[in-house]
């Protein structure tokens, strides 16, 4: 389990530099060079991440610069310069020759060092604007002996934020379900990996289905559904200690757990009163409140950012569509109208985009609906795409899809322009749940 013991973002060396770089960044943006997420892969920004200098004697287990390189490329907004093309390998500002990097058509340059610290490692980095020939960001991160990858992701987050203005989501995790490819006998596993797919750790293994992992707001616990007793029950498990608690279960469905933004409540689906309905469980008082009341299916709750509404899927209109209920008043409003199958809605962190599964011509795609404009657009063209989960910064959506007849994880940017796959070594993987920011 990766845990940052201590993170120190150093202030840029001189306050004046900071102000200057901020101004420069803005002016550069006005000139067409500022990175806009929407420009995506059509015109990725060239960046060079020079191998970080390591002051120790034994080779490091991880290549930190390579991690940063891969993170930035995976965002689809950057094109990293190959090392073989680099003319020099500076790791401090004094050794940076801007002309070299300019010659290589690099717009931004990242250099850094890794050094041993008391309990692990210290990573220092600096980000330079090649055209302006200035350092625009820099910092230091500390971590334990097993935290090199996390330290790399922290550098990526910082660089990404400095260049896009959007908080990076590289140092996050993804929970997902893996299963044997065979139907029977089969196994089901709940795993947690870094958002780039590395360091997968098994949380639970069962010979009965596991589904619907959902992160607590502090990214320390997972709620999920397990059929290990031959009946569905919701469990909450601390992913560090492994300690888990079974929520009181009822006859019928016990499913679709979703943590409230304040972390104190869990929305869930029970059919104890006849058919699938949304309930809210107060995790402190254990009080259970029924939210929906309809003979149609009501499922897949997702909390609004302010915690005052719950989005859900319902076929009360005949076909599954996404609705929103206001918890105070019970007022229900339908949100989707395009197409005859829209389900599993979730929102970006700013509440502007509704991400969902939408069927078109009999095929299931990930779609996004702009709640301000009301327009829906498809993010994927593959089939059987499901379980979309939005990164905490709203930049990417991870989902599961079919690839060569098996389930894999994939991600697409919220604008549909950037896509990447997260293949599994064996078996099938599905139901990705992107974690909140790790603190």
């Amino acid at each position: 389990m990766i845990r940052i013991n201590l993170i120190i973002r150093l202030l840029p060396r001189v306050l004046v530099t900071t102000l200057l770089s901020a101004v420069l960044a803005t002016s550069v943006g006005a000139n067409n060079l500022v990175i806009e997420i929407t420009q995506g892969v059509d015109d990725p920004v060239p960046i060079a991440v020079v191998p970080f200098h390591w002051s120790g004697t034994k080779a490091l287990k991880e290549d930190v610069a390579q991690i940063v390189d891969a993170d930035l490329e995976r965002s689809g907004q950057f094109k990293a310069l190959k090392r073989s093309l680099m003319l020099s390998f500076p790791y401090q500002e004094a050794d940076v020759y801007y002309r070299d990097w300019h010659y290589l058509a690099t717009e931004y340059l990242v250099v850094g060092t890794v050094s041993a610290s008391e309990n692990g490692y210290q990573v220092d980095y600096q980000l330079f604007d090649v055209q302006r020939q200035v350092a625009i960001d820099g910092g230091r991160f500390l971590g334990g002996r097993n935290d090199l990858r996390a330290l790399g992701h922290s550098v990526s987050d910082a660089v990404y934020e400095a260049l896009t203005g959007l908080k990076g989501a590289f140092r996050t995790r993804v929970a997902y379900v893996a299963a044997d490819k065979k139907v029977n006998p089969s196994y089901y596993k709940l795993l947690v990996a870094d958002a780039d797919g590395h360091d997968a750790k098994e949380i639970l293994k069962s010979n009965q289905p596991i589904m619907s992992p959902s992160w607590s707001r502090d990214a320390k616990k997972l709620a999920y559904v397990s059929f290990e007793t031959n009946r569905p029950a919701i469990y909450i498990q601390d992913i560090t200690t492994g300690k888990r608690e079974r929520i009181k279960s009822f006859k019928g469905i016990n499913g679709a757990p979703a943590w409230s933004p304040d972390g104190n409540k869990l929305a869930l689906v029970l059919s104890k009163d006849g058919n699938a309905e949304i309930y809210v469980l107060d995790l402190n008082t254990k009080r259970l409140t029924r939210v929906t009341k309809h003979y149609g299916i009501d499922t897949e709750p997702f909390w609004s950012v302010d915690g005052e509404h719950i989005l859900f899927t319902s076929d009360r209109g005949g076909k599954p569509q996404i609705y929103q209920i206001t918890l105070d008043t019970g007022w229900v409003e339908r949100l989707t109208f395009e197409g005859d199958y829209n389900a599993r809605g979730s929102l970006t962190h700013d509440g502007r985009f509704l991400v969902l599964v939408s069927r078109h011509d009999g095929r299931f795609h990930i779609a996004v609906q702009d709640l301000q404009r009301g327009t829906m657009s498809l993010l994927t063209q593959s089939n059987l795409d499901e379980s979309p989960s939005v990164a905490p910064n709203g930049s990417m959506v991870m989902y599961s899809t079919q690839d060569g007849g098996r389930d894999i994880l994939a991600a697409v940017s919220i604008d549909g322009k950037v896509k990447f796959k997260l293949p599994a070594n064996e078996g099938v993987v599905r139901e990705p749940a992107w974690s909140p920011y790790l603190n």
Binding site: P209, P232, S271, R344
Partner: protein, 223 residues
């Protein structure tokens, strides 16, 4: 036999009395022969009476023995008759029980022979006509066997979202449950558990595989 011993004891005591009478007769011959003869005759009479009594007693004892033996034989005969009757009754009961068990087994076999998987159309929970015969058979068995219990496991194909498919699988299980209840099955004999699309029987990604996966499985947890 104690009765036989008693008659021997009585017979030997008669002999002792007779010998004693004879010897006393011999002793008194020298004194007064007439008195002695009379005494001897009395003794002989007494001895004869004793012997008669002993013989009577013996014959009575014998009769008693015989009666007792007869009684015992009769008792034994009665007992045997009773045992035989009981055995017969038991055999008959066993036969009936066996027949019932056979009938039960046949009913159970018949229930087992019925289709245990009900298939559905996409996004539908309507029970198709072709499955009514099987369901009627299950309903008949369940209503005749109040201790029998079933779990209706609802399943969906992989299309659509997972939690929605859990609800869809339950809807299918409920449809089958309602059908059985209408046929007279107690609601307490039925539990519905939906597995959604999580436990396919066919891992394929085509129409034929999906059709196999959209189903309700009837699982008996008690016959």
């Amino acid at each position: 036999m104690p009765v036989g011993n008693l008659s021997k004891v009585i017979a030997s005591s008669v002999l002792v009395v007779f010998l004693a009478a004879c010897s006393s007769t011999g002793e008194t011959t020298d004194a007064t022969s007439s008195t002695q003869a009379a005494q001897a005759a009395q003794a002989a009479q007494a001895a004869q009476a004793a012997a008669d009594a002993a013989a009577l007693a013996e014959s009575q004892a014998l009769e008693e023995v015989q009666a007792e033996a007869a009684a015992q034989a009769a008792a034994e005969a009665t007992e045997q008759a009773a045992q035989e009757a009981a055995q017969q009754a038991a055999d008959e009961a066993a036969a009936v029980a066996q027949e019932l068990a056979q009938q039960q087994q046949q009913a159970q076999d018949a229930a087992q022979a019925l289709a245990h998987v009900i298939y559905f159309d996409f996004d539908q929970s309507t029970i198709k006509a072709e499955f009514r015969t099987a369901l009627n058979g299950h309903a008949a068995y369940l209503s005749q066997n109040p201790t029998a219990k079933i779990v209706l496991e609802g399943h969906a194909d992989e299309r659509g979202t997972r939690e929605y498919n859990i609800a869809l699988g339950e809807r299918r299980g409920n449809a089958v449950s309602r059908y059985l209840v209408v046929q007279g099955v107690s609601v307490d004999a039925i539990e519905v558990v939906s597995f959604g699309e999580e436990r396919p029987v066919n891992a394929g990604h085509d129409s034929a595989s999906w059709a196999e996966n959209r189903r309700v499985e009837i699982r008996y947890i008690n016959y």
